[in-house]
């Protein structure tokens, strides 16, 4: 009988990339289901198409270009597909979705060598590419017919898009407790802050991610908004408005916490979160884009190697 011989350890925590990704998928489900309810079949189609495109693209690239065993089994392509769909408006044409998937998987992920190697969050690169290339499709916030109709539906602009039209004071009033449950008008995935937060809590409970990055983003956004709002409420929108709109929750819970493109240490993560929160508020208050979450995350993604170099884990016996 030939027994196995290997160095220690001889047992494993039975955690795998696949299981972690499956947890992320589960965590995204509440928000996805809510978006299906509000936006109906067209959103289901976008989601299905986006996921399918990402998986097929990754499979094809590993097989025909990289000539190595397929990595689609780790489910990360599904996560990218879901996040991409959730970051697009519910009216987005499928061919635009496909271009987004190509940019996300082929350019942002596989060019760097696949999972773990990319510098920027693939889904966000896809989204930003589409935002810059197809602004008309990407800012068409018409609400398609869903299974649940929405009374206070805006069409034409998101809540953040309302700020220049209505002014900060009026815009602030649009945010109420109701926004927590459904915030119609915006990317498909961010319709319900509550559903997103439920998913985030699930990830925390399952110990898939740690809360520090998300919390530091929330805190920074709230703090910056608080200060500016206190200075001039007519010019700058308040903390609650900024937390609940423009993808801050979706970004902070699911995009900024992406393992690959976030710092590994706790303190690095906190700095990274503060950076994201600060940049997004600067873009919103002083930039030409109304949202800015995608740009903020991508910019801070770029700083991750630097943060990882600077912030190490506390070592035993070394002060």
């Amino acid at each position: 009988m030939a027994y196995i011989v290997s160095p220690n350890p001889h047992i494993h925590a039975a955690v795998s990339t696949k299981k972690l990704m499956l947890d992320v998928i589960i965590a995204l489900c509440p928000a996805a289901i809510v978006s299906f309810l509000f936006y109906g079949l067209s959103e289901i189609a976008i989601m299905a198409f986006s996921v399918a495109s990402c998986v097929v693209l990754e499979w094809a690239i590993t097989k025909y270009m990289l000539k190595r065993p397929s990595s689609t089994g780790d489910l990360s392509a599904i996560v990218t597909g879901m996040l991409l769909a959730m970051n697009l408006p519910p009216t987005c044409p499928l061919w635009v979705v496909f271009i987004g998937a190509v940019v996300a998987i082929a350019i942002a992920k596989m060019t760097f060598g696949g999972i773990g190697q990319n510098i920027w969050n693939p889904a966000l690169v896809g989204r930003v590419f589409l935002l810059v290339s197809f602004p008309t499709y990407m800012t068409d916030w018409t609400v398609p017919a869903g299974f649940i109709s929405s009374v206070d539906a805006f069409s034409g602009a998101t809540l953040l898009g309302q700020v220049p039209i209505l002014g900060a004071l009026e815009a602030d009033k649009l945010v109420s407790l109701q926004t927590l449950f459904h915030n119609v008008g915006g990317s498909a995935g961010e319709i319900s802050a509550l559903a997103l937060l439920a998913g985030w809590v699930y990830l925390l409970v399952r110990k898939v991610i740690k809360p520090w990055i998300t919390l530091s983003i929330f805190a920074t956004v709230a703090l910056v908004a608080l200060v500016f709002h206190a200075v001039d409420p007519a010019q700058y929108t308040g903390p609650l408005f900024n937390l609940l709109t423009g993808g801050v929750i979706l970004g902070a819970c699911f995009m900024a916490t992406d393992y690959v493109t976030s710092p590994m240490g706790t303190w690095g993560g906190v700095i990274y979160g503060i950076g994201i929160g600060f940049i997004v508020m600067m873009i919103r208050y002083f930039g030409s884009y109304p949202e800015g979450m995608s740009f903020a995350i991508l910019l801070m993604n770029t700083a991750v190697p630097l943060l990882d170099m600077k912030f190490h884990h506390r070592k035993y016996g070394r002060k």
Partner: protein
């Protein structure tokens, strides 16, 4: 729930102490035993017997080969059949003394009775000499000669003696069993060491998944006149690591490359304490130890805790226990986190042997390695606060300076990194090599000075 634990990292494997209910049984002597000359840390021992010599049980058959080395004694009476290389459990040749067992006739002056001797000799030097002469080494895994550890360099003061009863490795129950069955002997052993170290604070750290052992210790302490406390520890691996235990108990950290005594700590395993008791009070050399036969492909009724003679072949013990079970895919000597896979079951047991662990192939085979997803779990799990993913990269780049700067030399090889890696990257395999590189660089620099 005890909150006392180390501060950095750690993992929570299923403790699987399946053999905890099995009382210690004494193994009969085999026909032949092979005594290894390299069963302690440091220089191998030098044989002082010759082929054809008659030896008695407990007779010195090899003497220390250096300052850090230990005496080795015959585990039975009989004839020295051969002295030469024999394969150890890794298949590498090591000098062994082969003894054809003819009986169990002990050398003079050994107290073989069960009576508990609580009176501790006064002379510190005499105690140390006895520990040395009886070949006592640390039985927690590192097998560092105990007399060296108990005799700190002048200038360093022992402030706390920590008795390590954590037994944080899953499956192993030998320490647990001796804590239950040899409670008082262990405590007397601890008191002896406490005396040698100048009467410092003495604690027995036991993980709280062994409440019976904690209870037994506490009860025995009320009946004995020593000032020793029992400290329940949180169940977390590697609680029994020397540096981790010091951090948990004393809130101090041993500096890189430093010895525990540099922060006033001395850590001894409970099994070592028992050996010290037998050496000092009974004049009995270290020729026995306790070993667990367990695993996840063995029914509980086939599990055992054995008192074995050091030098019995592992295969003999396995056979006696009923043979290697059908479903075994990997045989391990030691725990599943830090133990060594047995490549050669014919190898002889050594002083530090603590188990034969049978794991099924499914439960132990490593998963397919994939790319690092930068989840940081290895760094979060590392009890030394190292970043295994980074060390591995530096190792592949051959960056010795980087390895040193990132403390590769501090790795304790506990296996937490690979245990928690979702991509099944053989982190420890590479980090161990990286550690070797960093240590070699440090040694080379020290030699230059």
């Amino acid at each position: 729930m005890s909150k006392i634990t180390f501060a950095i990292g750690g993992v929570h494997p299923d403790d699987a102490k399946l053999a905890r209910g099995c009382a210690i049984e004494v193994l009969p002597l085999p026909e032949t035993m092979y005594v290894s000359m390299a069963q302690h840390l440091g220089a191998p021992a030098k044989p002082i017997v010759e082929v054809g010599d008659k030896v008695k049980t407990g007779q010195v058959i090899a003497e220390p080969g250096g300052f850090i080395s230990a005496f080795v004694h015959s585990p039975a009476s009989g004839t020295v059949k051969s002295i030469g290389p024999r394969k150890d459990l890794a298949g590498n040749p090591v000098t062994h003394i082969e003894i054809a067992v003819e009986g169990d006739e002990w050398v003079e002056g050994v107290d073989l009775s069960d009576t508990l001797v609580t009176e501790i000799p006064e002379d510190r030097a005499a105690i140390l000499d006895k520990i040395k002469a009886c070949g006592v080494v640390g039985l927690g895994g590192a097998t560092f000669p105990t007399h060296v550890k108990l005799n700190p360099a002048p200038g360093s003061v022992a402030e706390c003696l920590i008795l390590n009863g954590a037994e944080c490795e899953p499956y192993l129950t030998s320490d647990y069993r001796i804590m239950l069955e040899r409670t008082k002997e262990i405590i007397v052993g601890a008191a002896i060491m406490q005396k040698v170290l100048g009467g410092c604070r003495t604690v027995i750290g036991i993980e709280e998944n062994k409440p019976e052992a904690i209870e037994a210790m506490r009860k025995a302490l009320t009946e004995l006149p020593y000032s020793i406390e029992v400290l329940p520890l949180k169940k977390k691996y590697p609680q029994g690591g020397e540096k981790q235990l010091i951090q948990a108990v004393m809130h101090r950290e041993v500096g890189s490359g430093g010895l525990p005594i540099s922060v006033g700590a001395v850590v001894q395993n409970v099994a070592t304490s028992l050996a010290v008791y037998e050496a000092v009070q009974k004049n009995k050399p270290l020729i026995t130890n306790t070993l667990t036969i367990t695993g996840n492909c063995l029914p509980v009724e086939k599990m055992h805790n054995y008192l074995f003679r050091i030098g019995m072949p592992l295969s003999y013990i396995a056979e006696y226990a009923g043979g290697v079970p059908e479903g075994a895919g990997k045989l391990i000597s030691g725990g599943p986190m830090m133990g060594r896979a047995i490549a050669n079951l014919d190898a002889a047991t050594v002083k530090g042997s603590s188990s034969i662990l049978y794991l099924t192939a499914e439960s132990t085979r490593r998963g397919q390695e994939s790319l690092c997803i930068r989840c940081g779990r290895c760094a979060d799990a590392c009890p030394m606060g190292l970043e295994p993913f980074l060390l591995r990269k530096l190792y592949f780049a051959g960056d010795v300076e980087g390895l040193e700067a990132n403390a590769a030399q501090d790795c304790i090889e506990c296996g937490c990194c690979l245990f928690s890696c979702p991509a099944y990257i053989p982190l420890l395999d590479h980090v161990r090599q990286a550690k070797g590189m960093a240590m070699a660089a440090i040694r080379a620099r020290a030699a230059k000075k």
